[in-house]
């Protein structure tokens, strides 16, 4: 097989890994959902089913930053993980995040247009007595697209397809907002979990077993969150906590922070105040991922 066309010449069509639409192999992205066809082509090469871990969360909760730093840490063999990106496109997201943070800027907002999302496909292995290789597909979704899908299912079918194929979910929730008394994070998380519950359509009394990591982002605002994320969630995200207790069997709460110190800048005559990450101090980024991989 040539590098330019990993699919053999007898394979003129490729079935999208996400929505199962048949596409000409010469296309870079699925014509239906815009997922890279390289995902399916790489799967054929590996001859093993990839595991999808989907990162969910409201707009501005930190999905892009979290996933970018996670992938970068994996690339640098953090916590005894070995991770190999499958295709150059898999590195785009971490490059975007690291480059922006190096210039003390948060990365730009992820657009709702599906053809502008970043996808990461990594071969991951935790070194130990019995190393096990897992292929992970982790898309960086737009928070507004997730919110629109939750509000009106089938608005973004790709999200439905992703969730139905996900082996694990990471739900990111803004701990800083929640600690500040805002109910918005709790309501969004409740809606999200209700959507997931409806999607998996478990019987009454049976709890859904898909592992779900609830990641409390921006915990640098609420240092106590690191001591006991479960108690923090129970106190400040009670609706979410109750939903998870009732309907999901495998849930774990984590605290996470990436910013070491934050400044706020504004231009003369500007109304907009821009947060400036002065330096990064990663904390709690790997733990949710490690837990999810252990559950797979």
């Amino acid at each position: 097989m040539s590098i330019a066309n990993p699919v053999s010449s007898s394979r003129r069509y490729t079935t999208c890994l996400i929505c199962e639409t048949t596409n000409p192999s010469s296309q870079a992205a699925c014509s239906e959902c815009s997922a890279p066809l390289a995902l399916a082509q790489a799967t054929i090469e590996q001859d093993r089913e990839p595991r999808m871990v989907t990162i969910l969360g409201d707009s501005n909760v930190g999905k892009t930053v979290y996933l970018g730093f996670l992938l970068d840490m994996l690339s640098q063999r953090a916590n005894n993980f070995e991770a190999v990106p499958k295709g150059a496109y898999s590195v785009d997201l971490q490059q975007l995040v690291i480059s922006h943070m190096a210039y003390r800027m948060f990365p730009p907002k992820t657009p709702m247009e599906t053809n502008q999302w970043n996808w990461a496909y990594y071969e991951v292995c935790k070194r130990g007595k019995t190393p096990k290789w897992v292929d992970l597909v982790m898309p960086d979704l737009a928070g507004e697209a997730i919110a629109a899908e939750v509000a009106s299912p089938s608005t973004f079918r790709i999200i439905q397809n992703l969730l139905s194929k996900s082996a694990g979910l990471l739900l990111l929730v803004d701990a800083a907002l929640a600690a500040n008394g805002s109910a918005q994070p709790d309501f969004f998380a409740l809606k999200m979990m209700s959507y997931v519950d409806a999607m998996y359509a478990g019987k009454r009394g049976e709890r859904i077993t898909t592992p779900i990591g609830v990641v409390l982002t921006k915990s640098d605002y609420v240092p106590d969150c690191f001591n006991d994320p479960l108690r923090f969630a129970e106190a400040n995200l009670n609706r979410l906590w109750n939903m998870c207790e009732s309907r999901f069997a495998t849930v774990r709460y984590f605290s996470c922070s990436v910013v070491g110190s934050l400044a706020f800048a504004t231009g003369e005559g500007d109304d907009v105040v821009t947060p400036v990450p002065l330096h990064t101090a990663l904390r709690g980024v790997m733990e949710p991922f490690e837990w999810i991989v252990d559950q797979l």
């Binding site: 870079a28 239906e32 959902c33 815009s34 409201d58 992820t110 247009e113 502008q116 507004e144 009106s152």
Partner: protein
């Protein structure tokens, strides 16, 4: 020529605003206001199609974009997007504010299937302040339909521009999908294209100008920037004719050549009003054969006063055998016959004199 025989009727236009603002109910891009006439399915489709962060081709604060296409419900949707200051989460980039108009097909046809005529009809009804402070509630608008006034035809393309605009028109008529890159004034370009297409063609033309390509915006015509990444996104599906504004393509013969030459002549002569009036009357059939016949009839009508008696006689014989296929051909044929009959005694008199 008159444009509308019937009295103008009052039509209803639903509207919505899609943008990113903070409110007690949430933040981020969503439909922040919509009139009650929009169905849940239409609202869902608007969320899929409206441009979100960074999806105007131009990143500058004055960037605009617009689109015209039918919703799955059958109603016509017009989007008008612009940048509206820094995005509220302060992660860089401009907030995109999109005003959406949705109207019945019948209403759109009453405006001559011309999005600019719809916008002109609503002039003064849309508050400029909505861009900075979108309202929470919107009412449907009542508007009196009229196609774009002949006096508003404006100036046509210059001689330098005419070649490339004709190439674009040819591609729109011949090809399933067209991408135009590098045009600086996409609004003016679309105005020329719309004004030069028969209404029957305009009604089926889906287009976007100034908006980046996306799976939900797979329109027949996309007018975008020079950005190669963007062009690649639109071209990846195949079957797309790409025209770069700075490089007019070589023109292959087209079954629409008669019509395109007719358009170019009217631009050159500054007769945009006449062109517009003729387009307004081609409301049903605009096939290449029909347009060729209409152009031939129109040209012959113009020639009646100029040709010699023998040529006039030949033209009259040709058209005596002609059966008009539509109302416009019938009208042109009647006008030709009347003009020819008025001219004929003069022509006979001139020929008889030397004897």
């Amino acid at each position: 020529m008159s444009t509308l025989a019937a009295a103008p009727e009052t039509l209803t236009v639903d509207q919505a605003i899609f943008t990113s603002i903070r409110s007690p109910m949430g933040s981020g891009y969503r439909l922040v206001a919509a009139s009650t006439g929009l169905s849940p399915e239409e609202r869902r489709e608007l969320v899929q199609v409206c441009p979100s962060h960074g999806n105007l081709c131009d990143s500058g604060p004055e960037a605009t974009g617009f689109a015209s296409f039918p919703l799955r419900s059958g109603r016509q949707c017009l989007l008008f997007a612009e940048h509206a200051g820094p995005e509220h989460s302060a992660r860089g980039g401009q907030r995109v504010h999109t005003h959406v108009l949705v109207l019945e097909t019948k209403a759109f046809r009453a405006f001559g299937c011309d999005p600019f005529a719809v916008l002109a009809g609503l002039a003064g009804r849309v508050e400029p302040g909505w861009v900075q402070s979108p309202p929470r509630h919107l009412e449907a608008l009542s508007v009196t339909a009229k196609p774009a006034a002949l006096a508003d035809a404006g100036a046509g393309p210059s001689n330098d521009q005419a070649e490339i605009v004709i190439a674009i028109l040819r591609a729109v008529l011949d090809e399933p999908r067209v991408l135009v890159t590098g045009a600086t004034d996409h609004r003016r370009l679309m105005h020329w294209i719309i004004q030069s297409l028969p209404v029957a063609v305009r009604g089926g033309l889906t287009f976007a100008a100034g908006l980046k390509a996306s799976p939900a915006r797979k329109f027949r015509l996309l007018v975008a920037s020079d950005d190669r990444t963007e062009a690649a996104r639109f071209l990846q599906d195949g079957g797309v004719r790409h025209i770069a504004w700075s490089q007019p393509p070589e023109l292959a013969p087209s079954p629409f050549d008669a019509w395109l030459n007719f358009v170019a002549r009217h631009w050159d002569a500054g007769h945009l009003g006449q062109l517009q009036a003729l387009c307004a009357k081609l409301t049903r059939d605009a096939s290449a054969a029909t347009l060729t016949r209409v152009v031939a009839l129109y040209n012959d009508l113009e020639r009646v006063a100029l040709v010699n008696p023998e040529t006039l006689d030949r033209l009259m014989q040709n058209h005596a055998r002609m059966t008009p296929q539509n109302e416009l051909e019938h009208e042109l044929l009647e006008r030709f016959r009347n003009a020819a009959q008025q001219r004929e005694p003069q022509a006979t008199g001139v020929a008889a004199e030397p004897q």
